[in-house]
Assembly symmetry: C2
Homo-oligomer: 412 residues x 2
């Protein structure tokens, strides 16, 4: 008897998380072993709160095609972490709900925390001898920090955004070639420098910027930074220095926290100054040139016009494989990428044990960081390049902007 599939999205969006949703819905809605395809709204909270939508009809619409290239999470997201203790009533509630909706396959698209959810639910099911529900994780994160996969969907497009935007900032800064300047560009990724390193792809044969790149995998020293900027200024008038938001000193103290303002508002929320702005203030007293900072911020994970075709295709395939393997009875797994040892870039999809992925972070290997912590190696660049390749076209609407699929806030 056909069972139902439920799909959710969780954690911070990427620009291809809807690409994975697209692939998963496509695979599920077209399979005779599947009856209904549900979307849970705002992640696992959707199943807890009976907040589901049916997706079978949606999959036949034109809007469904636009969803594939729409930023953010179509089903909404959450940052809800399941309790550590399996005796917590939340587990009983979830499995009651899954039974009520006749769910046979639970597909969850997300990062570390979401893989933890897949891990916990599949482990709970095994320990409680609950059969007939498969739990499968589809990776997503712009940070590229998941273990046991060559890279993650979402990273390639974010890396392309970073490369493209840093190059544009560099050639913009180069317009005043007879004036000296330092532009600090702040990139996402607190603990893993994958996205920051992608700025190396911005270099052009006629413009060597960004001349300096600082990852959070190694310590950051302000004095050394100033020296490296001064050294770079001997050959170039306009320096672009790219930093991770998570650069820190040798004792692990974040530069933004150590030298910047830390405010706690009246409600107890903690706010840190941006790392780029803090560093700008630290150097502008010491180097007599125009200094500014630019934070690439949210567009890194939301820019449809910088989608990598490779990334989008892999994201959709990850969704398809996730459903395929769930339907084959696999559970407690995540869809992962293995890069083949071929000359031309090629990826193999494989199922990995989600336990080995959840709650771990993959950082950039130290041997890929060079020039006294101010650059990345050619090998790193070689790893990155194929992932950002390929343009993705989109249709422009009457409003001059890409056609998108967004659910009405009121429906949520």
């Amino acid at each position: 008897m056909a069972k139902n599939v439920i799909i959710g999205q969780s954690g911070g969006p990427t620009s291809v998380i809807n690409g994975s949703l697209y692939g998963a819905i496509q695979a599920a809605a077209g399979d005779e072993r599947v009856d209904k395809v549900y979307g849970m709204l705002n992640g696992v909270k959707g199943i807890l709160e009976d907040n589901l939508i049916e997706l079978n009809e949606f999959a036949k619409t034109e809007e469904f095609e636009y969803m594939k290239t729409t930023a953010s999470s179509y089903l909404g997201s959450c940052r809800h972490k399941l309790p550590k203790n399996f005796d917590d009533p939340e587990y009983k509630r979830i499995f009651e709900q899954l039974k009520k909706y006749n769910i046979g396959h639970f597909i969850y698209i997300g990062g570390n925390d979401s893989m933890d959810t897949v891990d916990k639910l599949s482990t709970y099911a095994k320990e409680h001898n609950i059969e007939g529900i498969n739990f499968v994780g589809i990776p997503k994160t712009v940070d590229n920090d998941l273990m046991n996969t060559d890279h993650t969907p979402g990273f390639g497009s974010a890396a392309k955004y970073v490369a493209s935007t840093v190059r544009e900032i560099a050639i913009d800064a180069g317009a005043y070639d007879n004036v000296k300047s330092l532009t600090i560009v702040e990139i996402m990724g607190r603990n893993a420098g994958w996205l920051t390193g992608a700025a190396a792809l911005a270099r052009h044969e006629n413009n060597p910027n960004p001349l300096l790149i600082y990852l959070p995998e190694v310590e950051f020293d302000v004095d050394k930074f100033v020296k490296q900027v001064e050294e770079a200024l001997k050959k170039n008038n306009n320096i672009i220095a790219v930093i991770s938001e998570g650069i820190h000193d040798k004792d692990g103290n974040l530069i933004c926290e150590k030298f910047g303002g830390v405010q706690v508002d009246n409600f107890g929320h903690k706010y840190l100054d941006g790392t780029g702005g803090v560093l700008q203030k630290l150097v502008q007293d010491r180097i007599s040139i125009k200094t500014r900072s630019v934070s690439l911020s949210i567009p890194q994970r939301a820019s449809i016009k910088n989608l990598s075709a490779t990334d989008l295709e892999e994201a959709a395939n990850a969704g398809r494989y996730g459903v395929k393997w769930a339907l084959e009875g696999k559970t407690g797994i995540m869809v992962a990428f293995k890069r083949k040892e071929t000359e031309e870039y090629e990826i193999e999809y494989k199922a990995v044990d989600v336990t080995e992925v959840s709650n771990e972070e993959k950082t950039v290997p130290l041997e890929w960081i060079c020039d006294e912590g101010s650059n990345v190696t050619k090998k790193f660049v070689g790893y990155l390049l194929p992932i950002i390749k390929g343009k993705v076209d989109y249709e422009e609407g009457e409003d001059g902007l890409p056609k998108i699929a967004v659910r009405k806030a009121i429906e949520r």
Copy 2:
């Protein structure tokens, strides 16, 4: 006898300033009345310092086509203002140089200050009975603040970037629909709110953000702002508030200067904190929701992937008309746009007296600002919409990024 044409770019770049250069070179290089086409490097400083390049051969290359869709100023830029006093030896020097290079037509692509240069040089020539050199200005500025033209080349693409990016930020923020948040987005334009107002184009039928828009043409009151945010929060969980970098209180004090940090570095440069960050700090003690700020910064004027086809075409045409009119003997003029009273958007190109343009700023009419200074009218949106329309395709190179034309720094 055929004379030479010289072309320069000045002031802050836009993403279509090279489109105007493309049109101007095309018109000049293909005309029998023209011998050589020179580019002056770094604006008027190029002619002063014999820093010129010949462009006739370049106009036949593939690279020339890529230049049309390359960010920044291909010829480099400057912020050099000509002396007020015509007795200053700089004028004599410039006219000697123009004679030396047998220049008959001086084409200058720029904003207010650049039009001032065109104005001064043409006036000087008239007053000194120097004949045979025509001075023509081609407008450019993302700020859209030039007088006597419906709009300026560069504005449409910047407006498209703002609309596209603010929409993506809004739907990204909407992913966590069950959490309340305020996102402040800071837009370029210190005195004129054209670009800030373009954020209204981001609104989508399923997502009403940005709910609040603040232009520098009217006073900004922090208490009123907090009330307007609280009012908006009654109906929507995630609020996007867009502000101009130049918002100020009723006495004209900039919000960033009044409430933020003002540093003077050891070299005497003055640095202001960003307006968005300053406003964020001002409200986060008073509204108990997640608050953050995003500054759109340099990509507003450099994003090739957000080019408006309308804007790029008009920019190239402005370059073509500038050369055409110079060759017809017009001088002391700027190419301007007149919007026809037709149902479908159409532009007429006209020559306006550059004296009436230089050193003046066109701001947003107050009747286009509504909702107690927190929104713009439908009429404003109707003015903006046709200018951002149309996609511009580009070729992707082997490096995964758009093919571009950038001069080597060493050649400058």
